[in-house]
């Protein structure tokens, strides 16, 4: 049975009611009305209200758009449409703002009892949100990613050893950054992933970081760091890359 259109009312002052005939049973697929607010006492939202045969409101669906007093609107209601966007539109092409920086993927020597910072490669920096991330060098001159906006972020760094450590080696794989060089390692931004023993597969360090409180944007560049803390051997680490994803835009330390 084809759909039918009914024009139930003439020109009336709001609210306008259409009572369905006693013998009717309708599947409501859409509604429309022109709202003339030239004489309105104030701004308004067009609203469609369904009232049951018992006289109680079954549902109300109001437009997200407010019509100014004196203005008019053609209002349509129909299923399967998204509500109008809220305050902040999503980034173009994605609901997540992310960045990734690749490294040079070279084997870097990490001598015993030292902290070695391994640079990424700024020519292989990717992001869908250049207002949130930028490739940058840290205060110590090491290439990484700077975060430019408040929020909470998930970070994940990956790498592997070019030659397997021995069983007695102890080392930390660290995502370092956020504040000044002097602060590294001891602030909320630093993520410590201690490893001991012979790890020969891919390694990763991951965690959360907050920006906007203790650490203010733009942050110092976030870089890869390997601490060779024991065993007395030089380690050879291949830094693969760093992925960062913004979880929200809230300014609150963890």
């Amino acid at each position: 049975m084809p759909d039918k259109q009914i024009h139930p009312l003439g020109t009336v002052a709001a609210p306008g009611d259409y009572r369905i005939a006693d013998a009717a049973e309708l599947l409501l697929k859409g509604a429309f009305a022109t709202f003339d607010g030239s004489g309105a006492a104030g701004p308004f939202q067009p609203l469609l209200r369904i009232i049951s045969d018992a006289g109680s409101v079954a549902l109300e669906t109001a437009a997200d758009t407010t019509v100014a007093a004196g203005a008019s609107a053609d209002a349509s209601w129909f299923p399967h449409i998204a509500a109008a966007a809220g305050a902040a539109p999503p980034p173009s092409g994605s609901g997540v703002q992310w960045a990734y920086i690749d490294s040079k993927e070279l084997s870097v020597s990490c001598p015993p009892a030292t902290s070695t910072r391994i640079p990424a490669d700024a020519t292989t920096f990717y992001t869908n949100a250049p207002s949130v991330y930028a490739a940058a060098a840290s205060a110590g001159g090491v290439e990484g990613v700077s975060i430019l906006a408040d929020g909470h972020y998930y970070l994940m760094m990956t790498g592997t050893f070019a030659s397997p450590p021995v069983a007695t080696d102890v080392y930390n794989l660290i995502i370092e950054g956020g504040g000044t060089f002097a602060d590294f390692g001891w602030q909320p931004a630093s993520i410590l992933f201690p490893i001991a023993g012979q790890e020969t597969g891919s390694l990763f360090a991951g965690g959360l970081m907050s920006v906007g409180g203790f650490i203010t944007p733009p942050t110092d560049a976030i870089v890869c760091r390997v601490d060779n803390t024991g065993g007395g051997h030089t380690l050879h680490f291949v830094y693969t890359g760093l992925f960062i994803m913004q979880l929200d835009t809230v300014n609150q330390d963890l």
Binding site: P8, E25, L26, G39, A40, P79
Partner: protein, 73 residues
């Protein structure tokens, strides 16, 4: 030129006799009806048994001409 506003509504709204579809203009803060707003051009798109609504005016169909009438036969 009036603004064009679209708003979501639930699908499959099966409404029986005695139910009411109401258009209103409400205050964004209080939800109360805003006076002075005039509604026109109302329409609803429906499927189903329209009951009395389906009974439109009877169609006027010309009767066939009789043989003795001019042009008839």
């Amino acid at each position: 030129m009036p603004a064009k506003i679209k708003t979501a509504m639930p699908p499959f709204l099966d409404l029986g006799g005695g139910w009411i579809v109401e258009w209103d203009a409400v205050d964004p803060t209080t939800g109360d009806t805003v006076s002075g707003v005039v509604i026109s051009n109302t329409s609803i798109l429906v499927a189903g048994d329209l009951g009395d609504e389906s009974q439109g005016p009877p169609e006027l169909v010309p009767a066939p001409l009789l043989a003795h009438e001019p042009g008839g036969g």
